[in-house]
């Protein structure tokens, strides 16, 4: 039995306030019927008989009297079945592709629940993306959450698209592969770009899209990734699929959260973002992973744009604290014509250590990656020095590092959008680069590996 209320006491920004409500349930979904449309909201605070509701579509156009509000008594749930593959939904999981409703007897709470750490399986299998910087130095592991830290105008979409196209899943598992795409506040042309990429890659029938675009209601954005992740959990853990989740743009998501928080007059922490931003982001990112008694996996590639390219901004900062590494794109590399403009130094894959080496990629991978990192970081110091004293004045060894740096960027980092390099090609390239340096500089590599792999 649903109780209907016919009067609001306040409507402002994303919130409505109602008095004299009985028995409201925290986090329950409410339906708001207006003369010509229906909106949805959820209860975000209850104080005696006063209830604060966050309206997903915002309050613009709502009048205090001409509405009826009914309480469902339940948090938001969405119906899921294997039919969702190939479908397109709005940011709150309403089908928008004209192909009808999803019929299922099973409804899933979009908030999910924390995975029991005992139930988790530690991810150890690498995914070959065909991109050297990633495979060689920031290896992606199945079940990992590895975001792309980007900036306005940088090619994060292309990098994500290239990963989707090239990510190699062994043949016997190819049929078990799915992509869940969550758009939050991105532009139409970006969404179209992804759709085109999926089509060209011939995977459209394995993609589920949840679309909240730039001109869609801002508050819906809070719901979008939760719907997407609930779908991903369903596909991974009930249908045994390997699911790649792309969520973009996390920065828009956080801005929506900030907007609601400030409407609720909460005490802000840094840059006006709410104090619970960390926990909130964790409730999304931690939904990646694998389970012991399930064959599927959820790999997340969230994309965020760093305001002012500032990695210490709360959105990238808190993200980096939760995710299992980050792929950092860099403007000056991009301006030098290097695609993908991945700056490997601040980038990191925390799960790589367990998914590379002898049993996974090749025995030399850990050491050689370590060495390339430290050499390239040395390049940065030497470049700074060369700026002051001139390259000619550098010592012989330093000059070799300069050459290493150039070739690293031109031959290793730089790669065509269409170019798919396998892991051995990538590792061999790394050795070729290291061959530029005097051998005694290779202090991070086991001498026996140097002997075996270093060909001058």
């Amino acid at each position: 039995m649903k109780v209907k209320y016919l009067k609001l006491d306040k409507a402002e920004g994303p919130l409505i306030v109602m008095n004299e409500v009985e028995g409201a349930v925290y986090d329950e979904i409410v339906e708001i019927q207006m003369p010509s449309e229906r909106r949805m909201g959820k209860v975000v605070q209850i104080d005696r008989d006063k209830v604060i509701i966050q309206v997903f579509q915002g309050t613009s156009g709502i009048s205090l009297n001409d509405v009826s509000v009914s309480f469902t008594g339940k948090p938001m749930e969405i119906p899921l079945s294997p039919e969702i593959l190939g479908r397109v939904f709005s940011g709150i999981a309403v089908p928008i592709d004209g192909a009808g409703e999803i019929y299922s007897s099973k409804y899933y709470n979009i908030n999910g629940r924390p995975m029991n750490p005992v139930a988790r399986l530690y991810p150890r299998n690498y995914i070959q993306t065909g991109i050297s910087s990633i495979d060689g130095l920031i290896t992606l592991i199945r079940g990992q959450k590895l975001p792309i830290f980007s900036g306005d105008g940088l090619p994060h979409n292309q990098v994500a698209a290239q990963i989707v196209r090239q990510a190699r899943i062994s043949d016997e598992e190819a049929g078990k592969f799915a992509v869940v795409f969550a758009a939050m506040g991105i532009k139409h042309d970006e969404a179209d770009y992804f759709r085109k990429v999926f089509e060209e890659a011939g995977v459209m029938d394995r993609v589920v899209m949840f679309m909240n675009l730039a001109d869609d209601p801002v508050v819906e954005r809070i719901i979008t990734p939760r719907c997407a992740l609930t779908a991903a959990e369903y596909l991974a853990f009930e249908c045994d699929m390997h699911v790649l989740v792309i969520m973009t743009d996390i920065t828009s998501y956080c801005e929506a959260l900030r907007e609601i928080s400030s409407a609720r007059e909460e005490v802000p922490s840094r840059k006006g973002y709410p104090g619970y931003l960390y926990s909130d982001l964790a409730s999304l990112y931690e939904r990646a992973g694998m389970l012991k008694d399930s064959k599927g996996s959820i790999t997340q590639i969230p994309i965020l744009t760093m305001p002012n390219d500032d990695i210490t901004h709360p959105v990238p900062d808190l993200t980096g604290y939760i995710t299992e590494g980050q792929i950092v794109l860099n403007r000056s590399l991009y301006q030098m014509g290097i695609y993908p403009p991945i700056n490997v130094l601040p980038s990191l894959s925390r799960l790589m250590k367990d998914g590379i080496g002898k049993e996974y990629t090749r025995e030399d991978h850990p050491d050689v990656a370590n060495q390339v990192f430290s050499a390239y970081s040395r390049v940065q110091e030497i470049r700074a020095l060369a700026q002051v004293i001139g390259e000619d004045e550098l010592s012989e060894t330093d000059k070799k590092y300069m050459e290493f740096g150039r070739q690293f960027e031109e031959r290793f980092a730089k790669q065509d959008f269409e170019e798919d390099r396998d892991i051995f090609k990538t590792l061999d390239l790394m050795w070729e680069l290291l061959a530029i340096l005097p051998e005694q500089e290779l202090t991070r590599i086991d001498p026996s590996l140097v002997k075996k792999y270093l060909r001058k």
């Binding site: 009985e22 028995g23 409201a24 349930v25 925290y26 986090d27 329950e28 209850i46 104080d47 005696r48 008989d49 339940k74 629940r113 924390p114 995975m115 750490p117 005992v118 139930a119 399986l121 991810p123 005490v267 802000p268 922490s269 840094r270 104090g275 619970y276 960390y278 926990s279 964790a282 409730s283 931690e286 939904r287 992973g289 008694d293 399930s294 210490t312 901004h313 900062d317 980096g320 604290y321 939760i322 590494g325 980050q326 130094l345 601040p346 799960l351 250590k353 850990p366 990192f373 430290s374 970081s377 700074a384 020095l385 002051v388 550098l394 010592s395 005694q440 202090t443 086991d446 001498p447």
Partner: protein, 594 residues
């Protein structure tokens, strides 16, 4: 009849209820139909404010709040070691075994296994006088831990009855005491409120090293048994790996590892790896001395606030048995943020960056529970607390880092630049410090070598000198420096690459005993002394720097092992031979010239 309140306000993890007159502040309560666990944080007239340790989504206005008459407690007894609990000591493996891959709400208050039988050896005899803390029975809990069953604090008396040694579960009475007409029945477990430190006889001075096998820590910024340390660092600088290394290799008897608001996979990793890793001292699986507390970042924040108290209370309990306990909290910043979030929901007046004004005092009270002590039962035990700190934006001037820095004895500052260059552990040797150095001098002298501390100082000086020289090098390059300064740069390079850097994933390098640390330092010292005196004799640096010798010294960490004890001596001999040769050539040259 138990007390009963009625919910009138719900705001995330904070719930308010009326009719709460009969409740106590800090009382544990059951909230709503699902019986979510909560804790009363304040009372005003009939209004009570409660923080709820489980997800409140789905909680309804007007549902009831039931009292338990007890503060938030943990059960202490056999079954803790080797286990993993949530922030309020609910057993996650047991929850998993009951079919829960995802953690539901309303699972109630369960804790250590009450039905499991343990082999108990009873030590007490009828007529014995037992005091608080006295051990009356022992259970071998794991291959590494003898669990001593103690008389709970506040209880004492004459033994009237004892059970036979044999197999019991933790609820069965083992010993009965009588004191002035009062009778006590003691079983294998006791309960203790987490927010209250367990009593000790007295504190003792700190004078023993907590050996970690991590060169930069043991040699340069040593930790002490009973001391405190903070590991601050931005994301990806190595806090967790450092904490894991300490949990694996430090020479504590018991490890309590709290994953406080961090990644689920990091707990899973420990669960998968520790049973396979062997303790270097006993050869037993490391899990056999470890207990995990997990409140991952997506678990309820109120339980995050409680998790560090649960952890430290467990640590105190094992300390009371006479053990050296090390407790790691990764990360205390998440705990502080939980505090902030709850304070925010309570509309408390925020101080700096939204944190409540009592942040510093709460942090201090937590670290204060560390210490080297004489226990009530006369044994000695210790708790070493090592907290990771995750400063927003990697900026150490933020409130949690600053408040922590004022309290802790050792500060291991992780450095983003070093991490980017993959110099791990990225502990910055200029900004880190250990206040325990003066207290540990005697220990090093006795247990390592008389000149260990002198070596330490000598190496640190070289590094500090290098730092000054680098300011010049950055401006004009290395070539313009005189050779006696360039030798400092070369030796620093060796210290940094060959000694400070330590690869946690390299089987040979992950753990390095102190004896080997000392030998490595001696080799570097020999190289420095000989090279320096050659420079002073006018021999050019290009001759002094023998590439092969230098790189072999950098690589000695990978080649040294207990099977090859001769390596260091070989290196020293090579150094001597090389520089003897060099000097004699130059002496001849000089003699010929004159």
């Amino acid at each position: 009849m138990a007390n009963q309140g009625k919910i009138i306000n719900i705001n995330g993890p904070v719930v308010k209820a009326v009719h709460m007159e009969g409740f106590m502040v800090r009382e544990m309560v059951m909230v709503g139909e699902k019986k979510l666990i909560g804790e009363v944080i304040s009372l005003e007239k009939d209004l009570g404010t409660i923080q709820v340790y489980e997800e409140t989504s789905g909680l309804r206005m007007g549902e009831e709040v039931h009292g338990t008459g007890m503060p938030l407690c943990v059960k202490l007894g056999p079954g803790i070691i080797g286990n993993i609990f949530d922030g309020i000591e609910r057993p996650l493996s047991k929850i998993y075994d009951s079919g829960q891959k995802f953690i539901p709400e309303g699972i109630g208050l369960i804790s250590i296994d009450e039905s499991k039988k343990w082999d108990v050896r009873i030590l007490a005899k009828p007529g014995d006088m037992l005091d608080s803390g006295d051990v009356f029975a022992v259970v071998q809990e794991t291959s590494m831990v003898d669990h001593k069953i103690m008389v709970p604090p506040g209880i004492k008396g004459r033994v009237t009855e004892v059970a036979e040694s044999g197999s019991y579960n933790i609820r069965q009475t083992l010993v009965a005491l009588e004191n002035q007409g009062k009778k006590y029945e003691l079983a294998m477990y006791q309960e203790w409120p987490v927010r209250k430190p367990r009593p000790v006889a007295r504190r003792m001075p700190i004078e023993k090293l907590l050996v970690t096998g991590q060169r930069v820590i043991d040699t340069f910024f040593p930790l002490a048994k009973g001391g405190t340390a903070a590991i601050p660092g931005g994301f990806g600088t190595g806090k967790t790996i450092t904490q894991h290394q300490l949990a694996k290799w430090s020479d504590a008897d018991i490890i309590v590892y709290i994953g406080c608001g961090e990644r689920g996979n990091e707990m899973t990793e420990v669960l998968e790896d520790f049973p396979k890793l062997k303790d270097p001292r006993t050869g037993k699986p490391l899990m056999d001395r470890t207990v995990l507390i997990a409140n991952t970042s997506n678990m309820p924040v109120a339980a995050r606030e409680a998790s560090i108290y649960t952890g430290i209370t467990i640590a105190e309990y094992f300390r009371d048995m006479g053990y050296n306990v090390a407790i790691m909290a990764d990360s205390t910043s998440r705990w502080a943020e939980a505090l902030r979030e709850i304070a925010g929901r309570l509309e408390e007046m925020p101080a700096e960056e939204g944190y409540p004004a009592y942040l510093a005092s709460r942090l201090a009270a937590f670290y204060e529970r560390a210490g080297y002590v004489k226990n009530l039962n006369g044994t000695e035990g210790s708790i070493t607390v090592i907290g990771a700190v995750s400063p927003a934006g990697g900026d150490f001037s933020e409130p949690v880092t600053q408040a922590t820095k004022r309290i802790v004895g050792a500060f291991l500052a992780l450095d983003r630049e070093l991490a980017y260059a993959r110099h791990f552990p990225s502990i910055n040797w200029l900004s880190s410090y250990s206040g325990y150095v003066p207290m540990l001098g005697g220990w090093f002298k006795e247990n390592v070598a008389p000149d260990m501390m002198a070596l330490r100082v000598k190496m640190l000086r070289i590094l500090q000198e290098e730092n000054k020289l680098m300011d010049i090098v950055k401006l004009v390059g290395e070539d313009v420096l005189p050779d006696d300064q360039r030798v400092i740069l070369e030796i620093s390079r060796i210290i940094k690459m060959g000694y400070l850097q330590q690869n946690a994933y390299h089987p040979q390098d992950s753990y390095v005993p102190l004896s080997r640390q000392y030998r490595m330092l001696k080799v570097i010292e020999r190289l420095y002394d000989r090279a320096y005196s050659c420079v002073k004799n006018g021999i050019p640096l290009s001759k002094i720097k023998d590439e092969k010798l230098f790189s072999d010294i950098i690589m000695m960490k990978y080649n040294a092992s207990d099977e090859k004890p001769g390596l260091f001596q070989e290196l020293e001999e090579r150094i001597d031979r090389y520089y003897d040769g060099l000097e004699s050539v130059y002496k001849e040259g000089a003699a010929n010239e004159s």
